[in-house]
Symmetry: C2
Subunit: 199 residues, 2 copies
Amino acid sequence: MVTLYDYLPSGNGYKVRLLLSQLGVRFRLVEKDIMKGETRTPDFLAINPNGRIPVLELEDGRRLAESDAILFYLAEGTRFLPEERLARAEVLQWMFFEQYSHEPYIAVARFWTHYLGKAVDAEKTERGYQALDVMERHLGVRQFFVGERYTIADVALYAYTHVAHEGGFNLVAYPNVRAWLGRVASEPGHVAITRRQFG
Amino acid sequence: MVTLYDYLPSGNGYKVRLLLSQLGVRFRLVEKDIMKGETRTPDFLAINPNGRIPVLELEDGRRLAESDAILFYLAEGTRFLPEERLARAEVLQWMFFEQYSHEPYIAVARFWTHYLGKAVDAEKTERGYQALDVMERHLGVRQFFVGERYTIADVALYAYTHVAHEGGFNLVAYPNVRAWLGRVASEPGHVAITRRQFG
């Protein structure tokens, strides 16, 4: 059985848990509380020198970090990743967009607001809305991000978009994004982000 | 012939130019000067709604954004991307590390220092050194990032690491990183980042 090192409120971890659920893959969960510094201990740095969850550990002990790389690994050869070369790269395009232009604003705003109780600076909020603008336009003529079917690009973008309100983002002006969130949530095997560590 | 929309001092663009050179793929270059806002015009936003270079345009007009997604697209089926499933995902792991934990500090510090003449805040510098620490440790027992051969993971990480000094980073305490930079630079078909727009 594979092992997932994870922190349950993490959207990055949730991406992997959601896909594992939809693939029907059982896994052992090892929780690491980032609020208590458990991803910065010497033991955890031996697991991931970059000190971040999620980390997937295979049965043979080999490990993989970075949520979107884990999604790609798990999705290869399944219906969650297209076979066609350009479509595969488009999936990656949206996952890199998520990590560079979306997560640092939308996820970080949620972390500051919801977990630390701190104010989010205006520039972060503006950049977050810019990412939502890009998504809204793309979804104006599409049901899903790539190839008109649900892929790991949707999994990656869903994770923090569906809890964007926890970082103060209002999606009222984003009807296409809201409709897409509904489509993703109605996919077979969908599971909710885990809440029990929220306090 | 493929078209590359690019800004020559960009490390993200350089990744793609370097791989195209090493693959022996000829391309048409369309320069977009980010300092003059040329990636934020309506015309360019029609090419990439996220308003960033590089963008690869195929002969049939289809387009792909995000430097590391472009690398993956170009490298599929070549010696620059492993065939083995976990190794492919490890390449992606390092490319996501680059975009999330390295580029926002090391590339952004270079942009501020070298192009805008602004001071870099201490937190950005510290995070940049943390990324270099992770690389230094990983390279302590390896010649290249994945599978002991030169891959697009090395291309992605080389782009901004080899000009890190332009952002004020000193690599004297990073002998493994420096030796790896030398190995990458001696790969067949290596080309330098273009300087002519530096002024």
